[in-house]
């Protein structure tokens, strides 16, 4: 399953909640303000790095770039564009939005 998260982890608990429901084969895509969850040096970084050990996490690069966070992305988080977003949706049997 592909899980999209569009809210910052310091604004809402969407990311933290999403992580509780991940199963083998799940992937997480951070979009919109959700890309703030992809950043190093934050209170939430450890939680994200821990999850990254077991699940692929992607971030929508145009949203990262729009917010000036290009140099702060956690190593191991894969950056995709909208075309990559489409591919991720196609590759997973379902997609769930964490709003």
């Amino acid at each position: 399953m592909l899980h999209t998260v569009n809210k910052s982890p310091t604004e809402r608990n969407a990311l933290e909640s999403c992580f509780k429901y991940l199963k083998k084969g799940s992937a997480v895509l951070l979009i919109e303000d959700g890309v703030y969850g992809a950043l190093k040096g934050c209170a939430t970084t450890k939680m994200v790095e821990q999850t990254l050990k077991n699940f692929p996490i992607y971030a929508l690069y145009p949203d990262i770039e729009a917010r000036g966070m290009q140099d702060r992305v956690i190593d191991g988080i894969k950056l995709v564009d909208y075309s990559g977003f489409v591919d991720l949706v196609a590759e997973h049997t379902t997609v769930q939005a964490w709003l």
Binding site: N6, Y82, D87, V95
Partner: protein
């Protein structure tokens, strides 16, 4: 080639949902996929208003959806109940959109290979 259904839960400009949905739809089409339907619910119905006048130097969200719908024969559907609540009616509906029931959303879930939700 896949058939995507898209659900837009928020109105133009206030949230990024409509923008992300549009850019996703555009990318999907470029990759050769089909967009079965874009369904506008909650404040998403405002994406169909004929009356929006954003600043000239910014993207025109309503027109953009209209053009995408027209160029690629996409069914742009606005939920009747949500629309009535918010004052979107045929008289202020942008051409290219249609007002219909929630059944169209369910049908999209049934007929599409993937249903992608964009919201707040």
């Amino acid at each position: 080639m896949m058939k995507f259904g898209i659900l837009v839960n928020e109105g133009p400009y206030t949230h990024q949902a409509s923008d992300t949905a549009y850019l996703f739809a555009k990318a999907a089409i470029e990759k050769g996929h089909k967009i079965h339907r874009v369904f506008f619910y909650h404040d998403g119905v405002y994406n169909s208003s004929r009356l929006t006048e954003p600043p000239q130097d910014d993207r025109h969200i309503v027109n953009r959806w209209q053009k995408l719908g027209k160029d690629h024969h996409i069914d742009l559907v606005v939920c009747v109940a949500a629309a009535l609540r918010r004052g979107i009616k045929d008289e202020n509906l942008m051409e290219g959109f249609r007002i219909s029931g929630l059944g169209q959303l369910v049908e999209s879930g049934i007929q599409s290979d993937r249903l992608v939700v964009f919201g707040d």
